[in-house]
Amino acid sequence: MTKSREQMRPQYATALPPIALRYLHVRSLIEISFVILAALAVVLLLLPEAWRGLGAAAVLLSGIVGALVDLPIVNRIIIRNTSYEVVDDLVRIRRGVLVHRDLTISAVQILTVSIVDGPILRRYGLAKVHFTTIAHTDPLGPVTVAEAEALRRRILGDFDTESART
């Protein structure tokens, strides 16, 4: 890759923690299970009796294929290709493989920083960080709770006084 390409798609200093992969696996399995259950309900309720077995088998097979793609491939790609850093009064986040999205937020312009942890995230000691800005931004994470609080402290707590001294 050329130097200019590297400049265009930088990997930032901090990656998501390895345990985030386990969270994504669990979430994927839950989501796939819900989809399979919903699809099975549709198959059993709407298809003629003769087709139900075949329909149910197709749904289960699709679910298994989905899990085989999601767990070892997609989730790993998400984890490997998400990085972030807070330097020079900027929050920088990079995501994506095929479609690269690079976000630079002026830290002083961030209105609020929220830390959200659902039951699965809590199980692994993880949380997601939501930055409230004048435009919609996707949450960062999952990161460890300590890292989430450190990010919030850095952006909201000490930011002004540090900047004022420099």
Partner: protein
Amino acid sequence: MRGRTALKRLPGRSVVASYLHNFPAVAGLVAVGAFYSVRPETWPGPWALMLVGLLLGIRLIHPLVMWMTMRYLITPDLLLVEHGVWVRRRAAASWDTVAVRELTQPWAYRIFGLSLIDLHVGGESTEGGSFTLSGLNDATAASLVQIGAAAIRSESEPIAPVHDPAPALERAPGDLLYRATARQLLVGGLAQGQVLVAGAAGIYGLVEALETVGLWEFEAYLALGIPLLLAITLLATLIVGMLATLIRFHGFAVWRRGDEFTIRYGVLDRRERVIRSGALVGFRIHRNMIEMLLDRVRVLLLTQDATAGGRTNVALPSLPRGVVSMLLTSMDEGVPSPAILKRRGTRVLGKSLIVVVAIVLLSMTVAVALDTVAAIPRILPLVMAVLTGGLALWSCRFVFTRIAMAGMRVHARQHHIYERHDIVRLPAVHLVSRTTVGASRSQLYRIHYFAGAGRTMIAFCRSPETSNRLTRALAMTAGEVANARIRKGPGLR
């Protein structure tokens, strides 16, 4: 950061106050429940009792659950609120970002010496930017409002809010920079298309009024013939439109006093806006093909106006290019003169005409190609031609937009069927996102800035250097904005 133990619950009596506040609703639900238990045959029967039971349960449980799960922390620097049972959310905001503060005292809360406080960051519509504390001590709530007031909009803030209109409209508010004559306003209105819009609206209103009193019968006027009728309508539209433009912008003038600029215009509804030069976020300079022909441009002054105040950014009428150039230099001395103000309109008209011809040809090609297919409805070629034209016009906005950095400003320039140049000061830029597909060098930029509301510049760019310069400049201005936001409030210990 303080641990979770530092977070406080709302006073216990806020639960009692909440129950008291909800009492009328609970009493109503109990009455409905009693009615349905006596007359179960009334529609919807047992479902009503279930619904009433559910609502009663929510009314009874909600205040207690809210009190048990919500915690807050108030420091001189920030507000932190944690809530949620299943999914816990901890939101924090620094005081300098709190733009709207509302303190209310419902009767039930007043009895217990409590207040409700609503805080909104970044205006009223920012997603996730609202905080509600239901049942703070009156003294704490009042201190909290004071902290917020002291922290925001301090004197050192570089982008000051726009002043309210001055009461004395008659005296000259400084040195006169420009005063438009009636002829200039009429030509400007005609070039801008306002004359046609205002005229059409005026004619429509007139016809409606005449029809209501029985003085208008369309069939009678048809006898004049369609061409003559169209000519009369167009002439009447122009006359009414010119009058409307003249009345709206009559006496348009700009004054300067120190770093303040006053813009005054209007006959019936006289308007005056005082703008401090520091309040300017930037400019949007625009000219359509008629304005190119007449060598005029119009300017939208992008200011820090709060949308909550119901005020919009200031749109100046279409003015001669030289006048706009002079006004821009006066209002923002650091702003480099953009290309749109350097080149005569007639010199760039050719490109706009080529784009128009290309779009028309593309639409016609689609229509002709579809017209040869016999199996489709006859209206479809026309519909597809219009859609193609619209899509091509929409695409022009991204394909022909170029962004660049000059000094501490971002410039976005586009030229297709019209020419537009946006100039935005970097301290107003909040975030920048770049999207790239695959190995392509082209990047789609979205630059979000605040000018009364969140606004976005969207453009393609192939130069990685632009990205680096933008990022460096953003980091530099972030420090400046932060320096200007040192809190001055006494704080709440």
